[in-house]
C-alpha cells in the first residue's frame, strides 16, 4: 500500500537557520504516528510542510502518494488539521464556525448540516452550538477544533499538541475520540509533549531534537531498547556509582539521583540495598519519559 506520508531528506530552512534537517519517515495507512521532541525541535515546522502551508526547502515529501508541490489543494482537501495555536473564528458561534469552515471545502449545505450535527455530538458540544467562541473553556475550544478538523471527513488527521492545557477528563475524551477515528481506518499524525499520551495512542513515533530524528519505532520497543524494562533510582554518591559500576549497570545522573536502566531490577536493587548498604533505592517500570530524557538531555531548550 502507498504510504500516507513519505518524507525523504526533508529539510526546512528559515534564512540561515535549519529548523528541520534531512528527516526521513513513512506513515502507513491506518496508523497513529507521533512526533515527540523538546520545544523548538521542528515538530510544528514538519507538520506545516505536510499540511502544504509551508514549502519545503529540500528533499522529497509525498502525501497520499503525491509530491506536494503543485498538488496542495488536492492534498489539503483530504487532510484535517488541529493546529497548535487555537485559530477558531472569534466572529462566529460554535455552529457558525463549523458551517463557515465546511464552505472552504465546498461541502454542499445540506451535507454540511448533517455532518455538523454528527460532529457536535461526537465532541459533546451540542448544547454549546450557539455560544460565541470567547465564552468557551480551553477544553471546549480544543474539542471544537477537533470537530472542525473533521468536517471534510479527512483521510489524514494532523494534530499539533491536541491536548495542550486540558484537564484529565477533557484529555481522556480526546484520546477516546482519536481512537474511534483511528478505528474507522483513518490515519493520524500527532505531536505531543505528554509522553503518556504518546505511549497510549501511538503505534509508532519518532523523537526529534534540533531538527533531526533521533529514534523511531513503537513506544514499547523504544523503551525496551533505550531504557530497559525498569529504572532503579538511588542517591548520587560515589559509593552508589562504584556499586553500579561493579554490577556493570547502565546508569545516568539525573539531578541529585542516579538512574540505572535494567531488565533485572530485582538484582540491582538487592545488590544496592544488600551489598552496598544503601537506603534510598526505588525501582519502577521504565517509561517513554526515561527514553525521552536520556536521548534529548535534561537541559532546558531556548
Amino acid at each position: 500500500m502507498t504510504p500516507v506520508i513519505e518524507a525523504t531528506g526533508l529539510t526546512k530552512r528559515f534564512g540561515d537557520f535549519t529548523a528541520v534537517d534531512h528527516v526521513s519517515f513513512r506513515v502507513e495507512p491506518g496508523e497513529v504516528f507521533g512526533f515527540l521532541g523538546p520545544n523548538g525541535a521542528g515538530k510544528t515546522t514538519t507538520m506545516r510542510m505536510i499540511q502544504c502551508v509551508s514549502p519545503k526547502t529540500e528533499g522529497s515529501l509525498r502525501v497520499f502518494g503525491m509530491e506536494v508541490e503543485g498538488r496542495e489543494a488536492e492534498i489539503k482537501s483530504q487532510i484535517g488539521v488541529v493546529p497548535q495555536e487555537n485559530n477558531l473564528d472569534p466572529d462566529f458561534t460554535v455552529y457558525q464556525n463549523l458551517l463557515v469552515y465546511s464552505r472552504y471545502f465546498d461541502l454542499p449545505r445540506p451535507e454540511a448540516e448533517a455532518v455538523i450535527e454528527e460532529l457536535l455530538t461526537f465532541v459533546e458540544l451540542t448544547e454549546k452550538r450557539d455560544t460565541p467562541i470567547e465564552k468557551l473553556s480551553g477544553g471546549m475550544k480544543r474539542r471544537l477544533i477537533l470537530a472542525r478538523a473533521l468536517v471534510n471527513r479527512p483521510r489524514l488527521l494532523i494534530l499539533d499538541e491536541p491536548t495542550v492545557g486540558l484537564d484529565p477528563q477533557a484529555r481522556h475524551l480526546i484520546w477516546e475520540r482519536l481512537r474511534e477515528i483511528r478505528n474507522r481506518g483513518n490515519t493520524i499524525v500527532l505531536t505531543t509533549h505528554y509522553l503518556e499520551e504518546a505511549e497510549r495512542l501511538c503505534d509508532r513515533l519518532v523523537i526529534m531534537d534540533r531538527g533531526g530524528i533521533l529514534v523511531e519505532g513503537p513506544p514499547r520497543e523504544l523503551v525496551k531498547q533505550h531504557a530497559g524494562t525498569h529504572v532503579v533510582e538511588a542517591d548520587d554518591t560515589p559509593q552508589v556509582r562504584a556499586c553500579l559500576d561493579r554490577l556493570g549497570a547502565r546508569y545516568e545522573p539525573m539531578g541529585e539521583i542516579l538512574q540505572a536502566y535494567t531488565d533485572t531490577p530485582r538484582d540491582v536493587t538487592r545488590a544496592l540495598v544488600g551489598e552496598c548498604q544503601l537506603g534510598h533505592v526505588a525501582a519502577r517500570p521504565a517509561t517513554l519519559e526515561d527514553v525521552f530524557l536520556r536521548l534529548t538531555g535534561r537541559k532546558l531548550r531556548e
Binding site: 509551508s54 496542495e72 489539503k76 495555536e85 473564528d89 469552515y101 472552504y104 465546498d106
Partner: protein, 264 residues
C-alpha cells in the same frame, strides 16, 4: 525577493475565493446595525456643516453650488475609507490576531485566494456604503440622475484600488500601530488635496502635478464628479486610464507582497 517582476505574478485563483468573501459578508450581516449607520449619517453631517454651512459663503464654485461640488467628494472619500480601512486594520486583525488566514489556508484555499477574497470584500464594502449614501445625497438634491447611478458599479472598481493599496500596507507593516503612518501620511492628505473640497486649480502647479500623478483619490473624484454633475470633466479619459492601470498594478503588488509575508 531578487526578482522585481515577482511582484507582478498573477494569482492562481478558483471560485473558492468567494468563500472568503462570504465569511466577511456573514460577519458584516451579523452586525449590520452598526455597519449601516455611518455611511448613512456621514454625508448628512458633512453636507450640513461644510456644504450648507461653509457653502453659504460660497455662491458658486466651478459653475455649481458648493454642496453639489463636494457631494461627489464625499462619495469618493467613503469609497476610499471603506476599501482602505477594511484591508488595513480589519484585515490585519484577521491575519495577525485572529489567525483567520492560518485557519483558512489549512483548507483547499491558497493564500492567493484568501487575499483576493479580502480585497473583493473591501471593494464590496465600498459598493455597499456608496449605495447607502447615494439616495441620501439625492434627497438633498445634490446629485444628478440618471448618470449618478453609474457611481455604484464604479464604487466597486475604485474600492478594489483602495483595498489593494490597503493590503500592500498590511503586507509591509511591522505591526498594527505602524498602520497609522499610511493613514496620516497618505489618506489624510488625499482627503484634503484631491480636488475634494476646493478645485485642484487653486493649488500651486507642482502640487497639482503631484496630486494628479500620485493621488488616486484625485482621479476617483474626477470620475464621480463627472457622473453626479452629469458633465464629463476634461481629465475624465485620463483619470479612467490612470485608475485602470493603478488598480491592476496595485492589486498584483498586494497579493504578491502578502505572499512574501505569509508563505514561510
Amino acid at each position: 525577493m531578487s526578482n522585481p517582476l515577482g511582484l507582478l505574478a498573477l494569482p492562481r485563483l478558483t471560485p473558492r475565493v468567494f468563500h472568503v468573501w462570504q465569511r466577511n459578508r456573514d460577519v458584516f450581516v451579523k452586525t449590520y446595525r452598526v455597519n449601516f449607520l455611518p455611511p448613512f449619517l456621514e454625508p448628512i453631517l458633512y453636507l450640513l456643516s461644510l456644504g450648507f454651512g461653509v457653502g453659504s459663503f460660497i455662491p458658486e464654485i466651478a459653475g455649481v453650488s458648493y454642496p453639489e461640488f463636494i457631494a461627489p467628494a464625499l462619495i469618493s472619500i467613503t469609497i476610499m475609507n471603506a476599501g482602505f480601512f477594511e484591508c488595513t486594520y480589519a484585515s490585519y486583525v484577521r491575519m495577525y490576531y485572529q489567525k483567520t488566514y492560518d485557519a483558512i489556508i489549512a483548507t483547499p484555499l491558497t493564500i492567493d485566494e484568501v487575499i483576493v477574497g479580502e480585497i473583493l470584500w473591501g471593494a464590496t464594502r465600498a459598493l455597499i456604503n456608496t449605495t447607502i449614501m447615494l439616495p441620501v445625497l439625492f434627497l438633498f438634491g445634490v446629485v444628478d440622475l440618471p448618470w449618478a447611478i453609474l457611481v455604484i458599479p464604479f464604487a466597486f472598481v475604485a474600492g478594489l484600488l483602495f483595498a489593494s493599496i490597503g493590503m500592500c500596507f498590511t503586507a509591509l507593516t511591522p505591526g498594527i500601530d505602524t498602520l497609522n503612518l499610511p493613514t496620516f501620511l497618505f489618506i489624510t492628505p488625499m482627503f484634503l488635496f484631491s480636488g475634494t473640497f476646493f478645485p485642484l486649480s487653486l493649488l500651486p502647479a507642482p502640487v497639482q502635478y503631484l496630486a494628479v500623478g500620485l493621488l488616486p483619490l484625485t482621479h476617483v473624484v474626477t470620475v464621480i464628479r463627472s457622473l453626479t454633475l452629469g458633465v464629463p470633466a476634461t481629465m475624465l479619459p485620463f483619470s479612467l486610464l490612470w485608475l485602470a492601470v493603478a488598480t491592476v498594478l496595485l492589486f498584483l503588488f498586494s497579493v504578491n507582497l502578502m505572499k512574501r509575508r505569509l508563505v514561510v
